[in-house]
């Protein structure tokens, strides 16, 4: 299958990297030839982003093992800037633009002198940016201010920024995550032109229809290894799904039988949630029911609307629809209302919206839960301390004392601390957003057991997790979300990771078809 393959332009051999004992990559070989679009696939945690960060200098040479070659010569990048100057460009998934500047200034960000000295040649910049756009078939006025552009146009500006240096290798990380169907077509046209110019491209995505549409070769990563490498003639959605979800290191999930005939803990009817500022996706017309003692998983890709459903229920973002807790209809306008109704939320991002780094371990657990620890409006120090110690013991939070700083706790201990916080009020409904993200294997297992224990005590749990194996192993029932809608639902034993991927892919293909029709 590789007899006529030309020599690779950019290649990585036997790349291995570990993060504090976790082996993220175990000897990955990867290469891309000039004029090729090479898809890099894999589930979250498979090692895609680690590989890309190595190839692009974010993880500098020396922090991993293995070799990288460009044009047959070994290279070692000390930084992304170093990679760029060697002809390896990268377009990140998140849009990073300078909104107050013009399109042309953004395209040449950091190089507005055009190498001629200290002065900015505004007109020359605009002219050069215009040439690049014309060359790529992009229709954006270089003089426009970026603040006035759509997110799709901003993405194109970022691609143009990477193109300015005439990279020979270009990595695109989920370039379509924020684009609509017609915008995807426009992006593909640009990529085809770059391909014709001989640029080697690495295309990271979760979306199989796009791989089928534009890529020449695909490499699937799984558990830090190459699961399979497929040439275009052998492309087939089923093959991808199979190789992405194939049997991995067997994880043990505690046994839990779905409750039968238990009352409803949470019921959501026609819930419509606004997208976060700037994001395309919210969630619409979501109908869900979680029985007391039931563990329900919300499966879906990043940006599918799965987290938005949790945020909508918790009152973190505005939502319309009916929410009932234990049969009672409740009106939730803010997290405060949700808590009063007996709902608790464990957020996905511990650092951004979980921990209070200015407060010690103990106060982090009791914050928002101080009401029962008061006398005459004052916090009773002794009572607070003993309830903190009880909570720490119950959840096995390992910290030197309640006065310890949370900064130095491991990810797993931080996560258990946050569990202690949300459990202190004995919620009836517990919403968990990526409960095992960034925690070690032992804690992961403790969390699984905790989830099952809580279910056995009658708590209704609704869980979002990117790792499908985990979600399917843990949950009594999985609800699949794509594009903000529920597209499938199945009980324990009725399907695996492949079923989720298949439903999501079908939903995406449908959307793509509708968008293409609309644009035709």
């Amino acid at each position: 299958m590789s007899i006529t393959t030309p020599a690779p332009l950019f290649s990585a051999t036997a790349i291995a990297k570990n993060f504090g004992g976790v082996q993220a990559l175990r000897g990955v070989d990867f290469d891309v030839v000039a004029g090729e679009i090479h898809a890099l696939l894999g589930q979250n945690g498979a090692g895609k982003s680690t590989l890309v960060k190595i190839l692009n200098g974010v993880h500098p040479a020396g922090s991993y093992t293995g070799t990288i070659q460009l044009d047959g010569r070994p290279v070692s990048f000390a930084s992304p800037a170093d990679a760029r100057s060697n002809g390896v460009g990268y377009v990140p998934q998140e849009i990073e633009v300078l909104e107050q500047l013009s399109v042309a200034e953004n395209v040449f960000a950091g190089r507005t002198g055009l190498g001629t000295g200290m002065l900015v040649h505004q007109r020359k910049l605009e002219q050069r940016a215009g040439e690049i756009f014309a060359d790529l078939g992009i229709d954006i006025n270089p003089r426009a201010y970026v603040a006035s552009l759509t997110s799709a146009q901003r993405h194109l500006v970022m691609i143009a920024r990477a193109i300015v240096l005439k990279p020979r290798v270009l990595m695109l990380d989920e370039p379509t995550a924020s684009l609509s169907g017609t915008e995807v077509d426009a992006l593909f046209a640009v990529l085809r032109r770059l391909k014709a110019q001989g640029v080697a491209m690495i295309y990271i995505t979760h979306r199989l229809p796009e791989v089928l549409a534009i890529c020449d070769r695909a490499t699937v990563l799984r558990d830090g290894q190459v699961a399979v490498r497929i040439a275009r003639e052998d492309f087939d959605a089923e093959t991808f799904i199979f190789s992405m979800s194939g049997q991995r290191l067997q994880r043990l999930f505690p046994e839990h039988a779905a409750p039968v005939g238990r009352p409803t803990a949470l019921e959501v009817r026609h819930l419509t949630v606004a997208g976060h500022s700037g994001a395309v996706h919210g969630a619409r017309d979501i109908n869900l029911r979680v029985a007391a003692g039931e563990i329900v998983g919300l499966a879906g890709l990043l940006g599918s609307g799965r987290s938005e459903v949790l945020h909508g229920i918790y009152g973190r973002v505005p939502a319309d629809g009916e929410i009932r807790v234990a049969g009672q209809s409740v009106s939730i306008k803010s997290p405060r209302d949700a808590r009063a109704a007996g709902i608790a939320l464990l957020t996905e991002d511990r650092k951004r919206d979980g921990l209070l780094f200015n407060l010690p371990v103990g106060a982090n657990i009791t914050i928002g839960n101080l009401a029962p620890l008061l006398r005459h409006g004052m916090v009773r120090g002794g009572l607070e301390r003993s309830s903190i110690l009880t909570a720490m013991r119950a959840l096995n939070v390992k910290a030197s004392s309640p006065q310890a700083s949370v900064t130095h706790l491991s990810g797993g201990n931080q996560q258990k601390l946050l569990f202690a916080r949300v459990l202190m009020r004995a919620p009836k409904v517990l919403l968990l957003d990526e409960p095992t993200k960034g925690v070690d294997a032992a804690t992961r297992h403790e969390i699984y057991r905790l989830v099952v224990e809580l279910a056995e005590k009658g708590v209704g749990l609704l869980i979002v997790a990117s790792e499908l194996e985990e979600l399917i192993g843990l949950c009594d029932r999985c609800v699949v979300v794509a594009d903000g809608r529920i597209v499938d639902e199945f009980g324990r034993g009725e399907g695996g990771e492949d079923r989720v991927l298949r439903s999501v892919t079908a939903a995406q293909a449908e959307r793509h078809a509708i968008a293409s029709q609309a644009s035709a």
């Binding site: 918790y314 004052m378 096995n396 309640p402």
Partner: protein, 336 residues
Amino acid sequence: MNSAAEVSASPRDARSFRRRLIGLIAVGEVGVLAAMALLIAFFWLLEPAFLSERNIRAILNVVSFVGIIAIGQTILLVAGEFDLSVGSVAGLSAVVAAKLMTAAALPVSVGILGGIGVGALIGLLNGLIVVRLGIPAFIQTLGMLFIGQGLIQVVTGGYPVYPLPEAINTIGGTDLAFGLGWSFAFFIVVALLADFVLRRTVLGRNMYATGGNKEVAHLVGINTSAYKIGAFITVGALSAIAGMFVMADLGSGGTSIGSGWELTVIAGVVVGGVSLFGGAGTVAGGVVGILMLKVVQSGLVVIGVNSNWQQIAVGVIMVMAVGLDIVRRRYFIAGA
């Protein structure tokens, strides 16, 4: 999951003394107090008159005025905002109260309440605009600084309000003990109360959470807007009270009351370990910081340093104090 339950019962060994020492140093106020003790000794050695009764009284008297505002500023900084209009508010409240008592011939108590009302109202306005409209506190309160200065001129026509009712002069002139009057007593009582509230009550804890991470505070059900607006109102009202105490002390509703205080107050509380980024610091620290700043200013005067150099010293001390605080956090708290 209840193995490894030894959460805090570490054996008391030789390291416990060292740990306690580090713990002591890690308490923000201790560092400032130690630095202040050194400075006092330094000035006293150069000029024993520094510790004369008269000089100590003068320092404490000045601290009582600015310190009242520092209490409010500390609370507001803990909640994650700050206020540059405190000096203007102090001045405006004083002249409004003075006008109410004289030109409007209202009872003294009504005048005082009016002054406090002006301060609280401006605090409310600052809070609403910052929280609801999302205008940065820096801009809003800087704007309010100018507005307040302008209003002082509008209210007074540029002339000090004089004479004031006898009751006001009595408040200003009372000697409770050691030549210190009502302003000092008020300062001490409010400082103790505010320190206690921040340390021991839900209100205080929620204030730290709000200033530490507004989103987290919101998610655990804290009404962060109410806390921030409440803190703005507190600063406004305390500034008004401080302004009126100065007025009583001077016996006149002067147009320059409060002028330039905003920066002194912020410099002082920052020296005392209150973070400009919110969620960290104590009232005790803020108050000690102000005290230290005034000790330095007074000490430099007493030992005969040129007044220009006093300004320079204040600047250097503030930057050094924050620098030392960063070092302390890095080595004693992080490494402990």
